[in-house]
Amino acid sequence: MNQWLMAGLLFTPLAWAALSLLLDFRQGRWLSWLGMLIQALVSLGLWVAVASNGGFYYALAGWEAPLGIALRVDGLAVTFVLLTAAVATACGLHAGVYLDPSKSWQRYFWPLFWFLWAGLNGVWLGADLFNLYVSLELISLSAVGLVALGGEAAALRAALRYLFAVLLGSLVYLLGVALLYGQFGTLSLTGIAAVVGADEPAAAMALLLMLAGLALKTALFPLHGWLPPAHGVAKSPVSALLSGLVVKASFYIAARLWLELGDRLGSHTLAQGIGALGAGAVIWGSWLAFRQPHLKQVVAYSSVAQIGYLFLLFPLTFAVAEPVSRLAQQGITLQVVSHALAKSAMFLAAGNLILSVRSKRVDALGGVSHYLPFSLFSFGLAGVSLMSLPPTGGFAAKWLLLQASLASGQWWWVVVLLLGGVLAAAYVFRIYRATFLEDRASDDFYHPPRSLEAIPMLLALLALGLGLVAEPVLSVLALPFEVAAEVAADVAVQP
């Protein structure tokens, strides 16, 4: 059974990418609907399988690590696979209606979309450092392609900036991999974690490099400059994909590295330093979001801020008691999931609003509530999650992080968490406020199709509901991973 699920999970996106390249946009849309259905089913199946039987390793091509590439299928990975299925399906459905099929280049949307999905699945399941690099490149190049699609000057400019940032990030990551391979002779993360010792300056440098590269790809403050143009200029479904999923991929790898190796290779300074950058991102990103004149720029800078929270994982899991670390991990996971849902909902809704008022500016939104209450409401609900007010997933995440900070005595992160919520409220309410203004002279509104309005609403409701059902979602994360111990023993090379 697992065999089929894994094959389906890895095969479908790649095959669909290849097939849809041969079709035009409309045919590709039909094909992609089918593919999304398959992906959703397979992801759900895998989730159920792991939820009932625990995690496992899957050796690709039948070769166990370290010779071959093994995939690690555990609670966290399947949670993200499922999240990807949900968000990507929503974005795909939205894009199918949103994009203009008469443009010849739109046919390339579907292959890029599917390659992106394949790369994401590869990252969630990856346990091999070099394979993660290739998956990351797959994601990066298809994301750049999606941003550049259409070839308009601003898009190209954003795409180039994005491309250079992610390429540099990948290379720095690869440099770290090179050091680790040089010292430990294996690329399997589990294998390295099994043999790495406490006092290894070279390995610590490798970890530092990898984290730096990944932080650049995740747009951690102050390396975030590339993100807002790319996410702001791209078409809304693409922005939703990029903000919701793509930046999470590199963070996910960084988090995995930290949780496996951080206790031995990290240091207090490093952990607190990364946390401080995250805090800087929360504050600076929110402030910039508050200042943006364009709707999508607000949402994009909000991503910079929300990504900042994720990096609190590093200080909150370093040298703290096991239950506190668990709390922090759960909180960050919830933050990733709820931000993915809320931010994609927000971008899609923003796309609808822009389509409707025919302007990208925030102050053009006055009176839109008469014409597009549904999209506005989705936007608002997603905003509630970003402000981390109850009962949303964002709030649940913040609650757990607050508990973790208080329990570990790192009260300064409490300040960041609370301040971040207030700042988020500032930029979200600025947009609400604009929509309530009634002095708009013209009634020149375009009404997008119903289906475009329903999708962001569904995502926003998911983000909202996540707060209520956080416990069952989180329980999958803590699933047993029986094979882990024995495979680790196989992989480990006795020195």
Binding site: F130, V134, L174, Y181, G182, G185
Partner: protein, 102 residues
């Protein structure tokens, strides 16, 4: 010190030079060159360090082959983007006043 390690150190220096160029050069094509330079440096470190211990090692060699192909894909993509960007705007750098041409 084996020659392999020497090459690895050369790779380190190439990374440093490349990084310097990447950060400071504004012309997009030059940046691309710097990117390729860093890439070569990383590959040298990967191979040099691994072979310093094991002798000729096919695994990192395969990795580098993959890496080279990824790098050429990225380079080619970047060239296409740069050319079109230049065609539309007349700029060859991302700086705002961007007329810094060679």
């Amino acid at each position: 010190m084996s020659p392999d390690l020497l090459y690895a150190l050369a790779g380190v220096v190439l990374c440093g030079i490349g990084l310097f160029g990447f950060l400071l050069l504004e012309h997009l094509l030059r940046r691309l060159l710097a990117f390729n330079l860093i890439g070569s440096g990383v590959f040298l470190v990967l191979i040099g360090l691994a072979q310093h211990r094991n002798g000729p090692d096919p695994v990192p060699q395969a990795l580098v082959l993959t890496g080279i192909v990824v790098a050429i894909a990225a380079t080619a993509l970047a060239v296409v983007l740069i050319r079109r960007y230049y065609h539309l705007t007349g700029h060859t750098s991302l700086a705002d006043d961007g007329e810094a041409q060679s």
